[in-house]
Amino acid sequence: MSAAAQSGAGAMPGEAARSGPVGSSSGRAWRIAAPAVISVVTFLAIDLLLAALVGRPWGPAYPLSMDALVLLRMGPVFFSGLIVWPVMRARGATRAQAVVGILATPLAFAIVSGWRAAAFFPPLEAAYYSTNPMVVGAIGSQVSSAGVGALVYALWRARRHRSGRPVSSGATPLPISTGWSWGPIVAIIAGTALTVFAVIWDGGQHLFYPWVLLYGSLFG
């Protein structure tokens, strides 16, 4: 029987597994980490596919396909926190674990970026490249996405609670009764501010130029 079936209709995937029979510790760890791992693997798979296909037009579908891949690639890098945070917390992840979870894909993005940059710059400079504003923007976006995810999850739990359906306590600190907490709001505001500063406001140049100038100071 699936975990969802055990917990009754409408339960978040995996939520009841936490309160059901406890498997091996590695199995539990996998269940907690799975959303983050899936996000990272999705990013890597799209990234590799994009790298393999870009610049090789095969027909009329080429531009549309490439646009789709580019935009899909950005999804897990910038927005997977929307799902990763609430699912990991629902499965019993601590706050620190969930933070690692939402940062895993931006980290993978940073590593891939640095790895590619190593074809053009010496290793230390390529490592510095990994701290680029896109990565900073992705981190901000993940934080705000996690805030949105946490808020939606909490509201969903509160609604279930009010309708008398079973709700697990989960690891989330949000109160079941109201679903309200300032934590997600702060995350949304802070994450959005970071993303706007890093990549949106004036095209991100307010972080870009200091980042390049710091490079000049470090390696010039």
Partner: protein, 462 residues
């Protein structure tokens, strides 16, 4: 020179609101002109006007017909009255090195401004030094964009530039540094404002000496912001992107720092509209100097070209033609024997400095690596180069490897640092440079020969 206030006003200049040194703002640590006491220029010495744009690719002139909807009437007229070189290249397809090359006539390896992070060394000789010493009144008005502290500039009597956004400037309300004084410019559009300053200087300092004026536009560099009245002019035109291009290639790692994030087509339309706006300002400047046009040499070129999707690139730097070829027009009423012609002689941005000196009758310093194209303009049969050398240095964070290239009439051969494989293109059979022949055994001898020529050029120019 007999340029009157009426000429200026007829040219459409609004002088109101222009500020000059000492009138507004606070002093900066640099950016001051350093006039040079010169000899008296011989009577009849030609005026020199260099109009220098940013990121304007060679085929984006109305007169080429390459982009059917594009209108550049002022530049087209200039080309019809002068010589247009359709094989004009830059020595490095990047802002700062190319600007230093324009001023010095040298390759980046020699003048030292190798990328957008390496500074212009104060005291580096430019053509301004020589012209001022020969009795010219000189001015540099516009984008300087070389790293480090803004230097004081020997040889010029007016220095108007900007340092905002690390020297890139902004299209609207761009604060200027006017002779070393910070000068807010609220309510202005930068191409118009720079043109106003140029015309103001021409009028106010007219004392009978010949002038040398460089107007260096921010346009058409990103953020591609056209004047308000031109925004949307090309919204409805069909955009013909290269086969390998796609809308959101701007978000790829290779392009993401080029300032074009978003829809490629939208950025491209704004680019063309910004170009249209700059052309209008060029027309205004040319109209205003009409009274002295017969004795004025006008040079128009750009710091580099620009890729709009070719090789899935948005930007410059790579040694492909889209990036290294630039528009290059010279109008010289007293020198050009066949106005309206198109020359296929390969010329360089490094040729501009020696050409200006040559036309002015001023000795060309031996340190200049370019050659005067004055004989070509006069239609003289001379020995001329049949290949050009290109160099590019790493420019963090742009993912472009350092490279050197040789471009002949048929071949483009590129060697990269950091172990990247060379590239070889037959630009006659493959003008878009899509098929790399470097590993094709049938072209092994060609590659070998070009590699040797590149090695020779490297020894000569670096």
């Amino acid at each position: 020179m007999a340029l009157t206030r009426r000429d200026i006003l007829v040219g459409g200049v609004g002088l109101a609101g222009l500020t000059v040194s000492g009138c507004a703002g606070s002093p900066t640590t640099g950016g001051r002109p350093i006039p040079v006491q010169g000899a008296t220029a011989p009577p009849g010495s030609p005026n020199l006007l260099v109009i220098f744009s940013d990121d304007h690719r060679a085929d984006h002139l109305g007169i080429t017909g390459e982009v059917p909807f594009l209108q550049t009437p002022a530049l087209d007229t200039l080309a019809s009255e002068g010589v247009r070189f359709d094989r004009a290249y830059v020595t490095t397809a990047l802002c700062s090195p190319s600007r230093a090359t324009l001023l010095t006539g040298q390759y980046a390896s020699r003048h030292g401004v190798q990328n957008n992070l390496s500074a212009w060394t104060p005291g580096t000789p430019s053509f301004f030094d020589s012209l001022a010493a020969a009795g010219y009144r000189c001015a540099y008005i516009g984008k300087w964009h070389m790293p480090g502290d803004l230097p004081d500039l020997p040889g010029v009597e007016r220095f108007v530039t900007f340092t905002i956004e690390e020297g890139q400037g902004v299209y609207r309300d761009c604060p200027l540094i006017v002779d070393g004084v910070q000068t807010p410019r609220p309510g202005t559009y930068v191409s118009t404002d720079l043109t106003d300053y140029a015309l103001q200087w021409l009028e106010e300092t007219d004392d009978g000496r010949p002038f040398c004026l460089v107007v260096a536009h921010k346009a058409v560099h990103h953020e591609f912001e056209p004047p308000d009245d031109l925004l949307g002019t090309y919204d409805d035109v069909a955009i013909d992107l290269p086969d390998e291009a796609f809308t959101y290639q701007t978000l790829l790692d290779r392009n993401v720092w080029e300032g074009t994030a978003g829809r490629l087509q939208t950025s491209y339309r704004r680019y063309c509209e910004t170009l249209l706006g700059m052309d209008r300002e060029i027309g205004r400047l040319l109209d205003a100097i009409e009274p002295v046009a017969d004795n004025t040499v006008v040079v128009y070129t750009s710091d580099n070209g620009y890729s709009w999707g070719e090789h899935v690139l948005t930007g410059k730097r790579w040694a492909y033609d889209d990036n290294i070829k630039v528009p290059f027009i010279v109008r010289w009423p007293d020198g050009v024997t066949a106005p309206g012609t198109v020359s296929d002689a390969p010329v360089l941005n490094a040729d501009i400095a020696p050409t200006l000196l040559d036309i002015a009758g001023v000795p060309i310093p031996a340190a200049m690596q370019g050659r005067s194209i004055a004989p070509l303009l006069r239609g003289e049969a001379i020995e001329w180069r049949d290949e050009v050398f290109y160099e590019y240095f790493a420019d963090f964070p742009y993912q472009v490897p350092p490279s050197q290239a040789v471009r002949t009439d048929q071949w483009l051969y590129v060697e990269y640092d950091r172990g990247l494989a060379p590239e070889l293109y037959d630009t006659v059979a493959d003008p878009q440079q899509q098929v790399n022949l470097a590993d094709d055994p049938a072209y092994a001898a060609t590659r070998q020969e070009l590699s040797q020529r590149l090695a020779d050029l490297r020894r000569e120019f670096t």
